[in-house]
Each structure stands twice: as C-alpha cells, then as structure tokens.
Subunit: 208 residues, 2 copies
Amino acid sequence: MKLPDPIQRTVDALAELPSIGPRQAIRLAFHLISRGKEDIRTLAGAIDDLARIKICDRCFFAHQNSGARCGICEDKNRAQNSIMIVEKETDLLTIENTGKFNGRYLVLGSISKTGILDDSQKLRIQNLKNAIQKELHGQAIQPGSGQAEEIIIAFNPTSAGDFNASILAKDLAPFAKKISRLGRGLPTGGEVEFADDETLGSAIERRS
Amino acid sequence: MKLPDPIQRTVDALAELPSIGPRQAIRLAFHLISRGKEDIRTLAGAIDDLARIKICDRCFFAHQNSGARCGICEDKNRAQNSIMIVEKETDLLTIENTGKFNGRYLVLGSISKTGILDDSQKLRIQNLKNAIQKELHGQAIQPGSGQAEEIIIAFNPTSAGDFNASILAKDLAPFAKKISRLGRGLPTGGEVEFADDETLGSAIERRS
C-alpha cells in the first residue's frame, strides 16, 4: 500500500538514521501525526535549526559561537596542553559530566575495526599535530617541534578500541610527553562475582 | 555541560517520541549534524509536511485526499459491510500488504490492559456504530437498525488483546452478523518443536 507522500518522505529520512529501522520509522511518523500539528512543527523547527550548528575548527565539537571555536577550546581556564581524543560527541559530553578533566578534546569520529582512519579522521589527526607543533613549543629546542603534556586516547575498552589506540599512540608519540588511555577495572557498583575475566584481570593488575 | 540550543531542542523533541531515549536522541542529533545541512533540511522539511496529513473521518487512517475520506474508504470496489478494527495504522499497513482483505477499516488506537477505551476510542466506536446503522440498513426491518456483514477485531493475540476484543465483541454484537478475530496457529516457517504451548494448542484445535 502506498503511503501518503509526506509520510513516505519522513519514513525514508528517519530510516536513514542510525538505530532506526524502516518499521520504527513508520511508527514514528504515524505517532507524530497523532500528536498534532504543533508537535510536528516543534520537531521540524528544532531539526531545521541544527543546520545553524557549527563545528569547532580545532576539536570538531559542535557549537554556535560567533567565532570558529567551541566554548571548551575558547576557555582560557582549561589546560591547552592536555588533549583527550574521543570517538563521538556523546563521549565528550559524558566525560564533561564527570567534571574530572580540565584539558581540551579532539573528536575523531567512530573508529573502525581495521585500525585504518578515514580521510576526515586523518585530517583531524594532522590538524592536531600541526596545532601542537604551532601552539605548544614552549620547551621545544627547535621551533615547530612542540609537545603536549599528555594525550589521552579515550576509545572504548574493546578490541577495536585497543587496536586503534595502539596504532594512534605510536603515531602521536613524538607529539606528547605522555600518551595514556582511560583506566580499567571494576565499574563502581559492580560485583566481583559477576565480573568477566578480562575486567577482573585488569582490576587485579591495576590494584591501588 | 550545556548543549547548544538547537541541539537541546532537537534532543528534547526526539526524546518525547516512543522508543527513543534521551541518550539515543543526543546521538541522533549529533549524527544529523555530521550529515550536513542538506540532510538536516530534508528531514526537517519532510516532518514539517506531516502537518498537511489529514485523518479520515470514517476510519481514522492518514490520508491527503482533497475530501474527508481516505483512499480505502473512498474505494467503491471494497466491501463496505466488512470492517476490520485495528489498533494501529501500522497494523492496517501490514494487513493491506497481504492483499487478503477487501473490506474497510477502523483504526482504534492502542488498547490498554484495563479493557477500558479512552474517550477518543469510545468516539471512534460510536462513530462506527452510527455509520453501520446509517449506511448498512439494506436488510434491516426498521430504519436505523443496519448491520455489517462481519466485524473482524484484529487486535494482537495477547492477553490484553483477547480481553479488549471480548468486551468489544459484546458491545458490537448488535451491529454485525458475525464478529471474528484473526486465526491462531503456527506461524508460517515456524517449527513445531519450538512452538509455545498456547500457540501449539491453538494450532491443534484449529487444524484444517
């Protein structure tokens, strides 16, 4: 059965989003219709406004400042020589919510299992290297050979994350005094009895 | 961390949709931003156009005809005296895709476990009763006492569906010669070995 055109177009556009299948897209479209015109226009207007969002030219996080940089990169109170590399914007948000990190970020985009970065990711890493050399040459012997205090590679603690992190750590070694990853062990609130071997192994090795 | 306003508004609006949580809403918003302005505007435009969708005044399905009725209700080749009551528009679509039903529909909206219809659902049932009495009095002794040939209550084969269907069947008994439900048994492609007791029991009782 042919759906009315506005429904079909909404379904097609929604179904292209990650984790929304064609069936859920149809349900969402009909749900929106049942909510009425006002809710439809609220959502459409909010999404349309996303087109006004800019991407920071240094860390690639979203912002809507008048300049080219996001609030974190503009913040003079944040350590400029400590850089955390995250995959996704949502990883950045979760880390910011802890309040435990006062450096800046690089949003790299989702990594693949192959360990090979795509073109946009290579560009972002190159951008980071250039910025480090240009901005952080305080102790450098030659101009253009600056180093960050620390680069934290905050990929997920999965085999793909480990693999990519080890490649990236080698690549970035000349650009930071220290390259680290997020600590591993038992999650707070977890139970020893139900921890998997890998997690418990890490927790024993990194006991403190 | 405060999100830029257009992102926050999109997240809020998306998170109100069924089966989309706040976390997924954030991911979707950032994904849309990464897809670029054109994709953002395509989705926003399609959703905005949903406001132009009308609801059929007889079966309550979505349409965009110039009149008040949907294509199925307008179709003279469909049996007007055979009415299938479905919960959701998506149920109607799935049934239409089988090509096995040539009557018309009533979209009732999702039923609750209590067996009590909400006000809008009561109105839809009353609307159906009125239409049957008004339109289908071919064989009726008195004017205003018309009957449908068949009303099929196509609720899910769950305890809530069974409960609601039994109440509705009693309520609608004077308005149709026959009131039926969808057949039960083994799903095509299923395996006897793995069928649950209820399903297998139905399949044995309704063997053919």
